[in-house]
Amino acid sequence: MKIIAAMSGGVDSAVAAARAVEAGHEVIGVHLALASNPQKYRSGARGCCTIEDSHDARRAADKIGIPFYIWDMAEEFHDGVVENFLSEYAAGRTPNPCLRCNEKIKFAAVLDRAKAMGFDGVVTGHYARTQIGPMGKTLHRAIDPLKDQSYVLAVLTTEQINGAIFPLGDTEKVDIRIEAEARGLAVAQKPDSHDICFVPSGDNAGWLRDRLGSEVGPIVDNAGNKIGEHKGAYTYTIGQRKGLGLTVPTADGSPRFVLKIEPVTNTVVVGAREELAVSKLVGEKTIWCGPAVDEKPLHGFAQVRAHGAALDCTYYFDGKNLVAELDKPLLGIANGQALVIYDGDRVVGSATICESA
């Protein structure tokens, strides 16, 4: 097949591209320029957005022996990922920009462009597996549980999965580094990227404050009594305990946690730990990564964070929303988080949490 290898400049995408070449594909390396004003150098452990990263990607392509180009996706990235990130926070929700990037950029803008140009698909360094069976090509967890990235890929439709190749899902990260070393790739020991690539400082709250302002507002308890002040509601996360600066202690001295963020009234609601517990999750904007599910309840696993636990649940589609009823309650769920449903290790689909109880 003729395929595009999306190369971030990191070790994973470099090995993925090399494996695709070895599998006999005709591979062309492409680095996505996602920042409109890229930094010259990496700072800390954030990848994808610096000139240094694009250089690393180019050198990996040289080593592998494939052509290399840079595609400017800065506008698409800004509109589809950064703007969405801001508007979600402004609405009091907690988004995951990596999912949006996979949904809007890597397996949409890039895959569409590649196909139009006569390529058959896109290979990336994500840790996930695909299988072909009676349900067609399906998406599965990687074998390395610490690196598994199927959660952030759960926004891919069957058609997108058909155009995606994930060569790393059957290998543990430690072995990828050894393989990169053996292949002579200079990025073999390059640190993993963490955090959000478009927040170069790593200071998420500060980045949001700069863009959304920091209007002071009340922190209230469940009864509506004001017990403190906050500096910008969206810089708090559900379940947060530290840094609340509350002036009125609880009667029994027990700690308080952020329960709710209300952007319209610019209010942060706090309460006891038990009040964070939810056992029913409702998600909108459902995407099926394989056959659609109906109203018949099925047993499976729910995951609500990129590296969160797989929680036993019963799930169904009520005609409008994806619903997961958890066997054991879960603490600290924010609207905007992605609810991903698994059947064993197969990704069933995902939805954006809009309600929990």
């Binding site: 320029a33 000139i51 140009m117």
Partner: protein, 377 residues
């Protein structure tokens, strides 16, 4: 078959230049040394200087060897500015970054004022604009810089007229693309300074020349051993210099032949893409450059597709991150950002053949079709 159509970026080195360079590389002697070996190398350098002077129509003493065309442009723009004691710099809106960026640097760091002279839709300098500007503010002008021909479109500029309008104001011209490709005489043009580069004419990389009027001294960028009229210190790069001269003096580049090839190419392009248009088509152009806009495409997609079909061409400008940017040259000619980013430059050289042109034309329809499809996504 693979076809190289990016000769304006760099062109294959001529055999005579390789021979001259390899002979010189194994010879010992610093041209500034006084002994036998030094004198022998110095002789080679001075022979080369005379050859280059002859081919560009200047005195040998007017040739100052530099490390590149970019360095020659920088030395001229900064040197002429500092010498003048005046603030205003006039450049054309379509200058190469080797002129544009030092001019902007002088604005940021040395208090200069910069005015860009517009071009018409064919990419030719607006002489009326220049005339009225000089009439109003001529006393304030430190220098004028207009390239002899544009590197993206090949459009030749009216330098002799610029010099007339300029009067006593020094004029610099970047003649990197024009040298050996079209009629070019330093003396006839009457400019103060001119920039040349070796690797565009069949010579090696890393060597250029600043042609600067005899006995006209400017402040230097590099200080040291005092070589090259104390304007460009540094041990002379004798192997590159003799190779530069060998290439410049060769008659390998046949302008008529290259012009015929370009005609064949452009006719073929317009047959397979009737909505395409040639930028600067109504102006006088260098023989080898063809800048084509393909509406409804993105040039970086086209370049990738052409490259996969083994045809090398250029999208023009890219930023430091390697991201394709709309060309300031095409924007100055009235393009929108979108149409500027739908353009490719094809450039032919001394060794280009009709078979090269025909092969490029044979892959073009498929490339354009896919490029259009990719652009609709």
């Amino acid at each position: 078959m693979s076809v190289y159509l990016d000769h304006a970026a760099t062109t294959p080195i001529f055999d005579v230049a390789v021979k001259a360079m390899t002979d010189a590389l194994i010879k010992v002697g610093n041209p500034s040394s006084l002994h036998t070996e030094g004198r022998s190398t110095r002789k080679d350098v001075e022979d080369a200087r005379e050859l280059i002077a002859k081919s560009v129509g200047c005195l040998p003493s007017e040739v100052i060897f530099t490390g590149s065309g970019t360095e020659a442009d920088n030395a001229a723009i900064k040197g002429l500015f500092w010498k003048s004691g005046k603030r205003l710099i006039l450049i054309s809106a379509i200058e190469h970054h080797a002129v544009l960026d030092p001019a902007r640097w002088l604005v940021e760091h040395e208090g200069a004022e910069l005015i860009e002279i517009p071009v018409n839709k064919n990419g030719v300098l607006d002489l009326d604009f220049l005339t009225s500007l000089i009439a109003k503010r001529g006393d304030e002008v430190a220098l004028i810089s207009v390239m002899h021909s544009n590197n993206e479109t090949g459009v030749i500029q009216p330098i002799a007229e610029v010099v007339k309008i300029a009067g006593d104001i020094p004029v610099h011209t970047d003649a990197v693309q024009s040298f050996t490709k079209t009629q070019l005489s330093y003396q006839d043009l009457g400019v103060t300074s001119m920039a040349l580069s070796a690797h565009k004419v069949g010579g090696p990389h890393g060597i250029g020349a600043l042609i600067l009027k005899r006995a006209y001294e400017i402040p230097a960028l590099l200080h040291g051993g005092g070589q090259e009229r104390e304007i460009r210190s540094g041990t002379l790069n004798a192997p590159a210099i003799v190779a530069f001269a060998a290439a410049a003096a060769s008659k390998n580049y046949d302008a008529n032949r290259v012009n015929e090839l370009r005609k064949r190419f452009e006719e073929g392009v317009l047959l397979s893409a009737p909505d395409a248009y040639i930028n600067g088509v109504d102006a006088q152009r260098l023989p080898g450059i063809s800048n084509v806009t393909f509406p409804g495409t993105q040039s970086d997609s086209l370049l990738l597709l052409m490259d996969s079909e083994k045809v090398s061409c250029s999208t023009g400008a890219a930023c430091s991150a390697g991201v394709h940017r709309p060309s300031h040259v095409l924007l100055a000619m009235g393009h929108t950002e979108i149409s500027a980013q739908s353009s490719l430059r094809f450039s032919l050289g001394a060794n280009s053949t009709a078979a090269d042109v025909d092969f490029a034309l044979s892959v073009l329809p498929k490339v354009i079709e896919r490029g259009r499809a990719a652009n609709q996504k």
